[in-house]
Structure formats: structure tokens, C-alpha cells
């Protein structure tokens, strides 16, 4: 059987090529398989049932499959649409804020400067502080009282003569969520700065010099030499920062409250559903989040995939 032998040899070669690396990956694969994919499966299954009460959760009352009903109900409800809008607003402001500020800091620090290390450390510092720790302070700072009753940042604005900047922060029902992004931007801009700074420094000096010799203006230098070099970094930063935005939960819990309509996001809904023993809807919200993530992340993965091939 020459074909069989050849095939067996082929299989053996494939096993030899893939076997050893797979063996090395095995611990991680098992862990990720169980703790990520196993739980995603369990969650998805939960989301297609009518498991809305405590009795059903423990099997005291029957649960039946309802297909996509929970999803349709959620997506059709005004409250959940509000949550989704909030998530989008929050994520956009958070991403744009960290990227712009992080880039600006990196740009300012790029050229040699005395005290650069100090600036860098200060900007990076907020990353070391958890929201459980900084939550109390941010709750003070983002107090919505204005005028005579003002405290927090509104008070500070009064003290430095910028009264016009006073606002009710996250208490605005349509765009209040943007204020919640402020502490998040505070925390992670430094990290983005570090990424970009590393990127700037990673660009060969010769490249810049060559461009300068060619008489390129500063803007052209950035436009045609530096930005292209930085774009992979920007992409990584977006992904790492973007996945943090899904964790807005800690932040909202420590500054606002889970019941507050103004600052609802899907992660908070998930928590509220779970607290009320509505596991099916909690799971459905989880799956919706996962799908959103997939929509954003898969193009990136495909991109890196292609790059890996190159």
C-alpha cells in the first residue's frame, strides 16, 4: 500500500512537526479551553433558556429553551439600547482620549529633555492605582453640585476662575457616561505614552536624518516617515486599551452606582440581572458583549495573521 505508507509517513511527519510544540502548548490550551471556551459554551447555552428566577437556577422549576427570545427582547428594549449607546460613547471617548493624550506626551518627550524620566514616571503613575483605591477620590472630584454647593472639580474650577467649566459630570442622562471615561483616561494615557515613546525611539535615527537631508518639513517627516512606523504600535495600543473599556464595570461601581440609569453599560446590566437571579438575561448580555468584541477584534486578528505569514 504505497499511498497508505506515504500517508502514514505524512501523518508521522506532521505529528513530529506539530506534536512537540503542541505538547508545550498543552497546559495553556487546556486552561484556556476550559476556562474560556467551556464557559462561553455554558454561557451561550444559558442565554437561550428562560432561566429568569432563582428556582429555575437550582433546578427547582423547569427551564425551557426559548431560542433567541432573550436577545430580541434585550435589543428591543429602550433601557438596553441606552446601555449600548453608553458603551459606545464611553469606548470612543476613552480610546480617543488615551490615544491623543498618550501620543501628545510621547511626542513632547521624544526629543531629549532634562527631567524626562520624572515626567515619564508621573504620567505612568496612575496605572499603578486601582479603581478601588482611586474610586473615592474620583467620586468626590466628579460631584455634580454647582454654584454655592459645588465641591470637587466644579469647586476647583471656581477657585481658578474657570466657572464656565462647571458641569454636572456623569449626571447628564444622555452624555454623562463620558465623564466616567475621565478617570479611565487618567489611568491609561501614561501606558499609551510609553508605547508610543518606545515606538518613536525604535525608529532608526538614520531614517529621520535622511528625511531631514531631503529637506522634508517637520510635518512631512511625521506624515511619511514616523506615522507609518508607529501604526502597528497604535493598533496594539488600541487593542489593549480597547479591551480595558469592557472593564468599565469597576469604575462605574466605584464612582456611580449600578442602579443609576445615567451610567448604565452592558456590564452593569449583566451584574444587575445576575443579582436579581435572572441568569438567562445576564448570560445573553454576556454573549452580546462577546459578539461586539468579536466584531472588533477579528479583523485585527486576521490582520496579525496575515502579518505573521509575511
Amino acid at each position: 500500500m504505497p499511498t497508505a505508507t506515504r500517508r502514514r509517513a505524512g501523518v508521522r511527519r506532521a505529528v513530529r512537526r506539530a506534536g512537540a510544540p503542541l505538547l508545550l502548548l498543552l497546559p495553556s490550551l487546556i486552561l484556556v479551553g476550559v476556562f474560556v471556551y467551556g464557559l462561553i459554551v455554558a454561557n451561550t447555552r444559558q442565554s437561550t433558556t428562560d432561566n429568569h428566577t432563582a428556582a429555575q437556577a437550582t433546578g427547582q422549576a423547569p427551564t425551557t429553551g426559548v431560542g433567541l427570545r432573550n436577545y430580541l427582547d434585550l435589543l428591543g428594549s429602550e433601557e438596553f439600547q441606552h446601555s449600548l449607546t453608553n458603551l459606545v460613547l464611553y469606548t470612543v471617548v476613552f480610546l480617543v482620549g488615551t490615544m491623543v493624550i498618550g501620543f501628545a506626551w510621547a511626542w513632547l518627550l521624544d526629543k531629549p529633555l532634562r527631567g524626562e524620566g520624572i515626567f515619564r514616571s508621573v504620567y505612568l503613575f496612575p496605572m499603578a492605582v486601582s479603581f478601588i483605591a482611586s474610586g473615592v477620590v474620583w467620586r468626590w472630584l466628579l460631584n455634580s453640585n454647582q454654584g454655592e454647593q459645588a465641591s470637587g472639580l466644579n469647586r476647583l474650577f471656581q477657585m481658578i476662575g474657570l466657572d464656565a467649566l462647571q458641569n454636572n459630570w456623569w449626571n447628564n442622562v444622555s452624555v454623562g457616561i463620558v465623564a466616567i471615561a475621565i478617570p479611565a483616561i487618567w489611568q491609561l494615557s501614561g501606558y499609551v505614552m510609553a508605547l508610543f515613546l518606545a515606538g518613536f525611539r525604535g525608529i532608526p535615527v538614520e531614517l529621520r536624518e535622511a528625511a531631514r537631508v531631503d529637506g522634508a518639513s517637520e510635518w512631512k517627516l511625521y506624515r511619511h516617515v514616523l506615522f507609518p512606523q508607529l501604526s502597528p504600535i497604535a493598533l496594539s495600543a488600541l487593542i489593549i486599551i480597547g479591551h480595558m473599556s469592557l472593564k468599565a464595570f469597576d469604575l462605574i461601581m466605584s464612582i456611580s452606582k449600578p442602579a443609576n440609569y445615567q451610567t448604565k453599560v452592558p456590564a452593569v446590566d449583566m451584574y444587575v440581572f445576575k443579582s436579581a437571579f435572572d441568569y438567562a438575561n445576564a448570560a445573553a448580555v454576556g454573549t452580546i458583549l462577546l459578539v461586539i468584541v468579536a466584531v472588533v477584534i477579528v479583523p485585527y486578528l486576521v490582520h496579525t495573521h496575515r502579518q505573521g505569514r509575511r
Binding site: V36, P112, L113
Partner: protein, 294 residues
Amino acid sequence: MTSVVEAEAGRPVDLGRTAPRSRFTVGRTLRYVVLLLFVLVVLVPVYVLLVTSFKGPGDAAPTRAWNLPQVWTTANWETAWSTLAPAIARTVQMVVPAALISAFLGSLNGFVLSRWRFPGADLVFTLILFGMFIPYQAVMIPLNQLVLGLGVPSGVPSLILLHVVYGIPITTLIFRNYYMTVPQELIEAARVDGAGMLRTYAWIVLPISVPSFVVVLIWQFTSAWNDFLFAVFFSSSQNGPVTLALNNLANGALLQDYGVSMAGALFASLPTLLVYVLLGRYFMGGLMSGSVKG
């Protein structure tokens, strides 16, 4: 690919750039002004934390947030120390192994997925990476049943397991990206010399991984140290980490003692801060050497 060599030295940043020094003084001053303004903005919350942590009970109130203490007292810091110290010790016991193990696993994965590739490596990488985005709240109940079913005791052991597991995607990502910058020829050379996979990893790859390890360890250290969600569900105030103890300190009291909770907040952040200061140089070096290129 000189970056590898430089990275190995773990050198910080200045790549001998020589900009003209005397010119652009206006620009330079402007840069300083802007940078200092940003420093002030960044430090606003820190100022409030600091001054409040030295205030007495009535003084530590939101309405007096911007004022200096009427009477400076260290009582808050003493309380914070005595309540948080045991929890901080437990957090160290939890964070150090969690960061080391997940970094090591990530390094193995990153190596195999970038430089000892096999058919389907990209798919496996994609599958692992996707784990970064799982919404934890949604899986908390099955997760709890799973951890309990595996017989992992609550507290430090459970938390180590969880931080290792959910750290794998990002550590793998960072190491893989870093190893992509290692010339394949280096690996091939070792292969030609007859070195197997493990030997190549241990002798060639591991020694040049220091910068990436720094980046990964800092990241994992920070996220495990600051985690609260897992802490609530997988430990109690008797065996839990510092975020839990801090939360107990800051909440629940009838008269919220803001002074103590702010002292505690600063205190609980000190270890991470220390890591940043000690490893900051290497952190930048690590980032520069390609850990984060897409």
C-alpha cells in the same frame, strides 16, 4: 536587528540622539510649560488623596477636599497599616507566583507560536488571544462551580489559578510579538546544530527574553494587584488580597472615614508604585524592543 542586543542590555532609552541644544529655546520652554501643566492635571487626584490622608475625621470631607489639613495627623496611616498589612502580605504571595507562572507560560506559547511554528499555529494563537475578551461577570457562576469542583481552596490558591489562566492570552500576545522580532536565522542556526525545541528555547530564546519578561511581569503584577472582581468571588476578608481589605476599609462604615480610606488607597498602591520605579527603565527598554509591535 540591533534592537535585540540593545534590549538584552535592558538599556533605557536614549539612543544617542543628538539634537542641537541651544536652538529652539522658545520651543523648549513651551514644551516644559505644557509638560508641567499635564503633571499638575495628572496629580490633581493624588493631591486630594494625599492631603485627605493626613486629615482628622471632621476635616476629611468632600467639601474641604482642596484645603490643607487643619491639623496634620498620621493616625490614618497607622490605622491603614495595621488593617492592610496582613492583606498586603497575602497579595504578594498571590501576585508573585501568578505573574511568574503566567509570564512563563506566555513565553513558552509565544516562542512556539512565532518561532517553532507548526501547521495551524495562527489559528491556535487566535483562539488563545480571544480569551482576553471574555466578560467575566457573565461566567462568574459556572466559573465558581468549576473552581470549587476542581477542589482549589478559596483565597490565594484560587486567585493564583485565575490570574494565571486569564493572563495567558495577553502574555502570549506580548511574547509572541516580541519573538517575531528575533531573527529566524538564530533559531535555524540552533536547529542546524541539532538543538531540539526545548534546548533552543532554554539556550537561545529565554536569555534574550528579559525585556519582554519585564513588560509582562509589570502588566500581570499590576492587573492582579488591582483586581477586585475575582477577589470578591474567590476569597474572603480573612484570606483575600488588599483590594478586598481596602474596600472593607472604605465602605460599610456608618461614618465613612475618608481619611483612613484615602491613606489606605495610597498605601495599597505603594507596592505597584515601587515596582514601577524599580523596573521603569527596563519597562521602557522592554517596550522598545518590540514587545508591543502588532
